[in-house]
Subunit: 363 residues, 2 copies
């Protein structure tokens, strides 16, 4: 399995090492070999190459079937202007370069871990199990014009453009359908069709596409402000939460925090192109950040990185069995009581490597 | 005090009646007389006049110093296209007609009512006390172009435009400053300056305006995705949460649900024009909706409507003492154990009128 390894900054390299160990071990069990190449991304790439997403890194990715990504950013680069900060300067260009249009984020909280959620236990007696599908290369992130001008009276005026077209909406609708089918679930499409033209089109295209291609899947619609409320009130009313880029940015992060620890949450960003194996090229990364406060201490939770590696096996390499085995091993380790500090809640907490070893032991 | 009364649909008329009683009583105590006129808005206006915001209603508002608003919408009109539904069709035109650019929403949860919040008690041991300031007439809600076209290849493409200019940002920054000063608090300005031009301008103008006009007020900045997380994690880290229209729509509703019962939350939408008394013209409405499931049963919580009336006294009539007295009376009644069903939690629950009577008794 040929993939690019971009550990990035902060805890990225520490948790990546453990995830690679788990992948190696899974390969021995399930009969595949790893063939990966490291490259710089984010802050470290700014330091070493002057840019957050260097051409050399792009080449490594182009020569791969998938990207395993750590996380980027940190205090060292926080004084840069917002658009030059590692997160933005690495993520948007890499999404664009590989047409990573479909962000898939499982919102999973094991019932044994409800203490980690800010929500009352009685709201989530069985934990949380939803998925957020976010469109990732359209909408207001990339729409043109995007500019600032000086008006005649001397004031400045800034403009961003939110734009969607039929085919962009259809291809992400298909991902929502596939996800719902795999879960035996339903889809709630989130928009602001009472205010936005893009949302009116979104709702229309989604409705027609589902009617034509997956009439058996239950589809509902919700306004984004209501969705932000419902997520915090009763997350499990959703199964597949499906929305456009900007709304997905906000709602998937709200979902993440409600699921307790970002250290447990993986994500897949699927590309429009297939890799040489006939699977979607994709980028796989933890939902959390670089956790600069604990970086270098060997205590970060590697589970999100391990689970991201599992998503890579499933989506970009078709290794479904190995992916499921890794996911089960993480669940067993954690629910069995092996916990890093972020999810310890009174239990003794272990380090990054010990957590990895516990996952391996359960594989 | 001359104001327009627009009760709207669902529970609107029931809770409005009680709020008017409280206002009358406060007038007797604090020496002012009421002079109000009723008019139709929302669904009932669609039924009676064919439009959600009829000209006759606009005239009533124009002849007033403020608007006391109930809530609009309901199942009867849900089959209308999103843009013709009462909420949208009433609220956006009335905001535009009176330049209601500043939405002020207190996010208040009494410590005695933490059971009502979906958040764990240990996250909010002293309840919640924050305020959200949302810009209400700019951004992507009204920006042009906003259109849908057919592309050459037959696909449809929709566009919305997010636009802000210096003066729009400055005037709402002043509201954030006034609010923070009145509370002795700080301001967190929320944007997406790593992606949006409008946010880059927002951050720059806000920073410069605060430095010039209120250097003593602590100002911080946060990205909107992070703000959605932080609100659900630890709401009281905020004091004044300050943001643009679309982000404010989402975050203020998330804040609302975290504060437990929408039946307790009031809001003020302040206009750019002064009324004949030299105070801002404004519209005052509960944060919740028409609650069609309980409408007509006399059991709705009138507190949000009563507290909205108090905000009207404060902002549009300068009756600060009366406003504070009403707010204190609501708090006393509720924390004293008089509860409508939405906030009963094991206590006996009373009806709309009884709740109103309890507030009056504490006034
Ligand atoms: C860093 C930023 C550009 C990015 C986004 O908004 O998409 C991040 O918040 C994310 O969600 O991956
Ligand atoms: C009904 C809708 C147009 C409105 C908005 O989005 O502003 C509502 O959600 C609100 O927040 O008052």
């Amino acid at each position: 399995l040929k993939f690019a390894v971009l550990p990035g900054d902060g805890i990225g390299p520490e948790v990546m090492e453990v995830a690679l160990d788990v992948l190696k071990n899974a390969g021995e069990k399930f009969g595949f070999a790893l063939d990966y190449e490291h490259a710089d991304i984010g802050g470290i790439a700014i330091d070493n190459h002057g840019v957050a997403f260097p051409d050399s890194t792009k080449t490594v990715c182009e020569n791969s079937e998938a990207i395993l990504f750590g996380s980027v950013g940190g205090p060292k680069w926080e004084s840069l202007p917002p658009k030059e900060q590692p997160e933005r300067a690495a993520l948007l260009p890499i999404r664009k370069a590989f047409s990573l249009y479909a962000n898939v984020r499982p919102g999973l909280l094991y019932p044994q871990l409800t203490d980690a959620s800010p929500l009352k236990k009685e709201r989530i007696p069985n934990g949380i199990d939803i998925v957020c599908i976010r469109e990732l290369t359209g909408g207001i992130y990339f729409g043109q014009p995007k500019s600032t001008t000086t008006l005649e009276n001397g004031e400045e005026q800034a403009i961003d453009t939110m734009v969607y077209k039929t085919s962009e909406i259809e291809r992400i609708a298909q991902v929502a359908i596939d996800t719902a089918k795999a879960r035996g679930g339903s889809v709630c499409s989130v928009d602001k069709a009472n205010v936005l033209e893009t949302s009116v089109l979104w709702r229309k295209v989604v409705t027609e596409y589902f009617a034509k291609h997956a009439p058996e899947i239950k589809l509902s619609h919700m306004y984004v402000d209501n969705a932000a409320m419902q997520l915090a009130r009763d997350p499990n009313q959703f199964d597949v939460l499906f929305t456009e880029n900007m709304f997905g940015d906000i709602l998937s992060d709200e979902m993440g925090v409600i699921c307790g620890s970002l250290g447990m949450l993986a994500s897949a960003s699927l590309g429009a192109e297939q890799n040489s194996l006939g699977f979607p090229f994709g980028l796989y990364e933890p939902s959390g950040g670089t956790a600069p406060d604990i970086a270098g201490q060997g205590i970060a939770n590697p589970c999100a990185q391990i689970l991201s590696a599992a998503l890579m096996l499933r989506y970009s390499f078709g290794e479904n069995e190995a992916a499921a085995a890794i996911e089960a091993a993480v669940e067993k380790a954690v629910t069995g009581g092996i916990r890093t500090g972020d999810i310890a809640f009174g239990l003794e907490s272990v380090g990054t490597k010990e957590m990895g070893a516990a996952v391996l032991a359960n594989l």
